[in-house]
Symmetry: C2
Subunit: 164 residues, 2 copies
Amino acid sequence: MVANLDWGVEDCGVRTDSRLSRTLHVLLHMARHDGPMTSEAIGRMLGTNPVVVRRTMAGLRDAGYVKSEKGHGGGWTIAANLAEVSLLDIHRAVGGPRIFAIGSDHPNPDCAVEKAVNEAVEDTLREAEALLVARLGAISLAELARSFDAQLQSCGTTTADTCG
Amino acid sequence: MVANLDWGVEDCGVRTDSRLSRTLHVLLHMARHDGPMTSEAIGRMLGTNPVVVRRTMAGLRDAGYVKSEKGHGGGWTIAANLAEVSLLDIHRAVGGPRIFAIGSDHPNPDCAVEKAVNEAVEDTLREAEALLVARLGAISLAELARSFDAQLQSCGTTTADTCG
DNA sequence: TTTCATGTAACTCCATAAGTAGCGTAACGA
DNA sequence: TCGTTACGCTACTTATGGAGTTACATGAAA
């Protein structure tokens, strides 16, 4: 009846939507970087393609969190106050509304049994989603960066920009 | 067997793993049904194929929650005490380890920034997962059936087995 | 005008749930 | 023994969505 899960969050070679963590990774690097960063550089940083970067960053740009500049010396720049943007904001801007991989078909079934089951499952999912939203909404990018700096100092590491 | 292609209409877009709710639906029907139920009957109930039913039920059988009988009068029977089986047990038996659609690549990145980001995101996911696991683990099939009966009575409905 | 960068469309690739078909196997009954 | 019933299993197909890739247009700076 319990609980000991060894199938963790990032398990079993599953194809997860990594846009949120990728974007956070990029933004934190951008925050400690002077001048614009090109999609090419970001792509190299993430081990991916410039087009994939642009595709993801487009959502951030539309939300006003970054801006992009074309031509020589162009690239991506942060355009918002990091203290006022939460992880939830990024998650939404990046277009990742689907949090859960499980759920139920037949939203409005005729069968009373099915209806009861769906409600029970979906109530539980809703609870977990509410928690997730609350937690992601409570962390600002500035806090994330700050906690990273603190961790760095306590470890004495100097590799603030290992990738790139 | 009918093609049943109308699921694409209402379900526009997301293809969620509905094995948990489907299985619960089946089990609750089985609980209030005398004798074995064939995969064919269950499939008709769920609006799906007998093979899909067997595939899903196989996990429950391996876990000992149901047993299957071949030949005349064969089919699926509940083989466990419903009070001792939780929704979490079913979820796991049914082979649905992937709860979240979001996550992060690179479990152990070299980049310190990425590491910090991943930790923040995954901590949050782990929290939500823990809540989910706790909730699913706390509800037994017997309780689910009981709460369903209570709801039925309070509504005065008599359609205990609408599908099937 | 050349070069660099984004913007976007149109693909391919891959993993997974689900749907389908076919054949094997076990259990019963006549 | 034979036919029917039902599960068991394998292989294939379909649909979906994130990611990867190619190609080309656009705009800005040197």
